[in-house]
Symmetry: C2
Subunit: 410 residues, 2 copies
């Protein structure tokens, strides 16, 4: 059961002018499943993306990087299959990703380099290119601007609910739309080893700043979540500006309109990223880990991730057991070499648990117990050595996590 997360309503997802989405059943791995989606862009769109930092990245990730870095021709379409990650597939896998691009390019009358391919699913099995290619015409025929809800379903794997979010904002005096979809669990994904995120706006943004925009949005959202610490081979996050809105082109993210757009897009990115955690495998709780008082943001992030990754901390949350020394232990091994444990403060929501590195004399176990029973919990640590902060979102570790991942595939 996802934590405080329900499927989006189609009518809440604003179309983005200049972008159409189509979905079909291609039978990639199983029959009767929406497993093939295309995302078609009018001429003139700007596209930026960030991909997994896993060195063992999937074939489609390698092809995406080539096509984006080439930069000769603007991106005109994306193709996404579920059921098979096309990772750990060597040279035949690369060929399969290229063949998919070539087939879609031919259907659309564009160049193969103008296509970005994405795959998600089981690792180390060969991609059934024939079935994907055979499904393309139906996916294209299905393409419409108001098809975001169906596309959110079309990219699901072990997700239990589709994930989408949309808003409208004002940028440089013009009304703009931001709509996005995501699946799987972040940089850090259990089962199918893939998270995908697609975020589109009709705002006008020059191609030159798209890579930076994608990076900064990911950094404030998808790069701040974890479920189990496993960085996937296929993680991809794509940002699209269709350039249809009625304002001056944004050529710098530091400009006033650039900042306004980024703020609006960050809201959607965070909603999509947090949705992945809320629907994390076996998740029963949604946990915000905030670390203050660091010398640098980097060390705050190290400490926050150490807490968020600790199986001991995560099982304690699952059990609603305020066994909070486990949080201190995680901070201690986070890699902050000159940490002074005597300055650490720990809060669970509003409850002050640890002061000066030891148990707060005023802390009562019942107070911790009360917070631990909630479905949404904020852990706040103060390192007492500076002014920097950072935040990470995660979930607990439950029996269902083990069941899902032990049973998957078999």
């Amino acid at each position: 059961m996802p934590v405080n997360l329900t499927a989006p309503r189609a009518e809440d997802l604003h179309p983005v002018q200049g972008l159409r989405l189509g979905v079909t059943e291609a039978g990639v791995r199983k029959a009767n499943r929406k497993d093939l989606s295309v995302l078609l862009l009018d001429e003139g769109a700007s596209v930026g993306a960030v991909f997994t930092r896993n060195r063992y990245c999937a074939a489609p990730v390698q092809v995406c990087r080539e096509h984006l870095e080439g930069g000769q021709a603007a991106i005109r379409a994306m193709v996404i299959n579920t059921g098979n990650a096309n990772a750990g597939t060597g040279a035949p896998g690369l060929q399969a990703a290229r063949d998919t691009c070539a087939a879609l390019a031919k259907e659309l009358g564009v160049q193969p380099q103008q296509i970005l391919p994405f795959s998600t699913g089981v690792i180390m099995e060969n991609l059934p290119v024939d079935r994907i290619v055979a499904g393309l015409p139906a996916a294209i025929a299905n393409a419409q601007p108001d098809n975001w809800a169906q596309a959110a379903e079309g990219i699901m794997t072990t997700d239990t609910v589709p994930k989408a979010y949309s808003l409208q904002a004002e940028v440089d005096g013009a009304s703009i739309t931001v709509t996005g979809i995501s699946k799987g669990a972040g940089m850090i994904r259990p089962n199918m080893a893939t998270m995908l995120g697609f975020l589109a706006t009709d705002a006008r943004v020059s191609q030159g700043v798209m890579a930076q925009l994608a990076r900064e949005l990911a950094d404030g959202s998808f790069n701040r979540i974890t479920i189990d610490g496993d960085t996937s081979t296929n993680d991809s996050f794509v940002v699209i500006a269709t350039n249809k809105a009625d304002h001056e082109e944004i050529t710098s993210l530091d400009s006033v309109p650039g900042q306004a757009l980024k703020a609006a897009m960050l809201v959607v990115s965070r909603q999509l990223a947090q949705a992945i955690v809320r629907d994390g495998e076996g998740a029963t709780k949604f946990i915000t880990v905030r670390v203050d008082g660091g010398k640098t943001q980097e060390e705050c992030r190290l400490a926050a991730y150490a807490i968020a990754h600790s199986p001991l901390v995560k099982t304690a949350f699952f059990a609603s057991d305020p066994n909070l020394g486990r949080i201190l232990a995680a901070v201690g091994y986070a890699g902050i070499d000159d940490l002074d444990q005597g300055r650490i403060e720990l809060y669970l929501d509003d409850v002050h648990v640890v002061t000066q590195g030891g148990r707060n004399p005023a802390y009562q176990e019942e107070q911790g117990q009360r917070v631990m029973k909630q479905a949404e919990i904020t852990v706040r640590v103060d390192l007492g050595r500076g002014e920097a902060s950072d935040t990470v979102w995660t979930c607990d570790l439950s029996h269902d996590y083990v069941s899902i991942n032990a049973d998957y595939r078999s």
Copy 2:
């Protein structure tokens, strides 16, 4: 159920001349439990130790470091309690550890700095010093040279079997004995957040090389195991030479006798370290992860630990499911920045699963299935970029791990 591990027989554990062990029930946390042990050394012993690298280290660890670094007076005794880790306890915790040392020193007629204290158990609760001090006379009265089996029990927490190993070897023409005990799970421990290891020999070793000996032995044994990636606040590994054997004092580990002694002690250290993994919380399989072909041993270790820590890899082992792409993904995010995935080879025992980064065409799923069903499995990865190797030992991640850690304390 531990993996191929049974309790040691008392008659297999050779006494080490110059060392006596005593155990009693002090009621630290629960009644009717052997929870207080002392280890008494004759005058003239050499002692070295390594401790957790967790910056949030426990009070007894801090006191041990002080007493060893002081170096004014030789160590004459150690005191170990279970049931309470005396970690996250601030200034009162430090005082409690010092009071324990003072009390034992008084009983023995030595200085407090000649005592090393150890605690293991729940974090962030105050140590009941009074009960420990009250139990010391009974523990001392119980002390005998042939009491290793009882001491192995006396330091247990969530361990399901006591852990001890002993051998006799020849060093510099003399017969020497090496005997040791351990508990909990390595640098990396689930539940009670503590591993302890005590290793003693009657060989003659100068105090000057003891720290190096402890470091090198830990590096080849306890620093190569993981259960869940949580580095504890209390990990301690102590090496004792009682200097009673009949050979020239060893003043260098590079000498022939020094190497012979280290080899013998490493056998015992590895047995004790691997015993901790075999009895890891919820463990159903014992897994050796060996990484060859690295440029440096350090990068091999990174890759081996990435595999050994991955919840996805560990649940696949639990399920006996050869979902081996998960191993590739872990290698990919291990942090080897210039890794070439096209050179990676993967073997499961004798089965060649991956070649040149992709699925080996000759690999059949049934072969992987056969190996995955075994209780002992070796994963071997070749990075194809150098001559270095490293090995790490770990276990799988089962439902019992979640149950044990979710239920603990509550």
